[in-house]
């Protein structure tokens, strides 16, 4: 399945990536080739086949609702690009 330049731009927007003008053609082509490869799946009859979410069909384990983790805020914020008074800093969101 071939996709158009606008599709590639839209996917990039969804994925929060920027594609420069000189790369967009190459990326559109690459994505089209990959989608051609995966389109082989469409020819397979999968009527009544349950999608496989886990190799051994294991389900999520539950645990008792108890606090087991200590507070690591300082250690975790030490490696952050920008923090202040225990908060992560980002550019202003609301004027």
């Amino acid at each position: 399945m071939s996709i158009k330049r606008e599709d590639a731009e839209n996917i990039a927007r969804l994925a929060k990536l920027q594609i420069s003008d000189d790369q967009i053609e190459k990326i559109t082509g690459d994505l089209s080739n990959i989608l051609d490869l995966v389109d082989q799946l469409q020819a397979v009859n999968t009527d009544n086949i349950e999608p496989m979410a886990h190799p051994t069909d294991a389900v999520q384990r539950l645990r008792s609702d108890q606090v087991t983790e200590a507070n690591h805020r300082e250690a975790y914020q030490k490696i952050a690009p920008a923090t202040e008074e225990g908060l992560y800093l980002v550019p202003k969101v609301i004027e």
């Binding site: 996709i3 080739n33 989608l35 995966v38 799946l41 999608p51 496989m52 190799p55 051994t56 550019p91």
Partner: protein, 484 residues
């Protein structure tokens, strides 16, 4: 000392033939001398390793050691190591010093093993040639123009070049087995859920699994004894007793039923490869195994199913890299959207971006059923093929990769060509089964791998058969020129 196996080093340390400090210094010297030409390490932990070695020597002297105490090894740079940079070979994590250890990391620490450093890999484990690392490509010790395979190419190259006796690795679509095959070493991808993934940087969560790369099956068994554990911190980790994988290595394989899937011996397989694999199968027959042809009819669909599922899961997993809490952040973002977009655009390499975009597309509104759901249905068909096969045979055997190591840039500009490199390994990940690659011959003076696929939690059998094969052959002892 570098030609000794983990088992031999462990004995040498216990009997006082050498100390861990001597041993560690020997490997550090070797890395300093040989690795500039290979680039198999991203970080060498010289000071930390010598401190660990000193502590190990004290433990051994006090009689408190285990078989791993003082034995050097290396970690793929995907396992978090507290206080030591863990980059996943990405600019995104070039500044990332984990505040915690992966469970696999702490398992080795508890045993007193000595971590020499962190090995190079494809960026975020996405690749089959180790050409996508932010830190530059890894060279295969068997030839300076050849790829080591990927994504665990640094681990495989370092073990092959005798820069470390063993290394951890991870396998999402073949990333332990294919580089092990291309570098002439032994690698095992355990059953999905056997090894904890806590602190192992995620790529595709329903496929990722950690495992060992070493020179022998015995050493891989010793590695797995440490790596496999039940871990409440990983909700996908299976709660099941861990057997002693070295205890059954010497069992006879007389009467073992081995299946050869006819789909693994198709036109895609190089004729010389085919010959070498059949010679290896003949060795197994001589050891008493019964060989029969089987069919895994959906093999061809494993690559397309994988290239929906893995990118979809990668696009979800890698959405955590937003420039806010850790990792790379762009300069002077003008607003929050700009912070997200430019941090990700500047921090990720091309192949990673490509896969994130494929995944975002497959999961986007209107396409989910056609791609992700469809791929998960085909995945069950692939798993059912294996379930049927294991009604008839105990073990499946075939080639690990279609060819021996190939040249840099030889797959050109087309990502699809590279994806087909994993045709024989991917189905095992989709089914969640354990798979192993062992050196089993040479083509054009390059090592090739024999792949063994077992039923769920049958790692001990894979290791047993591989060990018996290695007792009867010497392919696993061959060293690349200049690294003996």
């Amino acid at each position: 000392m570098h030609n000794k196996t983990v088992a031999e080093l462990s004995k040498g340390l216990a009997t006082g033939e050498f100390s861990s400090v001597e041993l560690t210094q020997h490997f550090l010297n070797r890395i300093a001398k040989q690795d500039p030409g290979l680039n198999s390490f991203i970080t060498v932990c010289e000071d930390e390793a010598l401190a660990e070695a000193k502590a190990a020597d004290e433990k051994i002297a006090a009689g408190e050691s285990s078989e791993w105490t003082g034995v050097p090894f290396a970690h793929k740079d995907i396992f978090c190591t507290q206080g030591i940079k863990t980059s996943c070979a990405s600019k995104m994590l070039d500044n990332f010093i984990p505040p915690y250890d992966a469970t696999v990391t702490s398992n080795f620490k508890q045993q007193g093993a000595v971590c020499l450093g962190k090995t190079n890999m494809d960026e975020f484990a996405m690749g089959s040639s180790n050409e996508s690392s932010y830190y530059g490509r890894v060279v295969n010790p068997w030839g300076e123009n050849l790829v080591p395979g990927g994504s665990s190419g640094g681990s495989a190259a370092a073990v092959a070049a005798r820069l470390t006796p063993a290394a951890t690795a991870t396998d999402t679509g073949g990333s332990i087995r294919q580089p092990a095959a291309l570098c002439g070493v032994t690698g095992l991808k355990p059953t999905y859920g056997r090894v904890s993934r806590y602190g192992m940087i995620a790529f595709a969560s329903s496929l990722d699994q950690g495992g060992p790369i070493a020179r022998t099956a015995e050493d891989a068994a010793m590695m797995l004894n440490v790596m496999a554990s039940y871990d409440s911190k990983d909700s996908t980790c299976i709660e099941k007793d861990v057997p002693n994988y070295t205890a059954t290595l010497n069992n006879s394989i007389e009467g073992l039923n081995i299946g050869l899937p006819k789909e693994f011996f198709s036109d895609q397989l190089d004729a010389q490869m085919q010959q070498q694999v059949m010679n290896a199968v003949e060795e197994l027959r001589k050891l008493g195994a019964n060989i029969k042809e089987i069919s895994l009819p959906h093999t061809e669909l494993s690559v397309p199913a994988y290239y929906v599922i893995a990118p979809a899961e990668c696009s979800a997993n890698l959405s955590r890299f937003d420039g806010v809490r850790y990792g790379y952040r762009c300069e002077d973002p003008k607003d929050l959207e700009d912070l997200y977009c430019r941090s990700r655009t500047e921090g990720f390499g091309d192949e990673v971006k490509r896969r994130i975009m494929v995944g975002a597309y497959a999961l986007s509104a209107g396409y989910y059923d056609a791609y992700y759901r469809k791929a998960q249905q085909v995945r069950r068909l692939i798993k059912n093929d294996f379930t049927n096969a294991f009604n008839d045979v105990d073990l499946i055997v075939g080639p690990t990769s279609p060819t021996p190591a190939f040249g840099f840039n030889s797959k050109g500009d087309d990502p699809v060509k590279m994806y087909l490199e994993d045709i024989f390994t991917i189905s095992t990940n989709l089914a969640g089964l354990p798979g192993m690659s062992i050196p089993a011959g040479m083509v054009n003076n390059l090592p090739i791998g024999l792949q063994l696929i077992g039923n769920y939690f049958d790692e001990a059998r894979l290791l047993n058969v591989s060990h018996q094969f290695q007792q009867a052959t010497d392919w696993h002892t061959k060293a690349p020129n200049g690294y003996e």
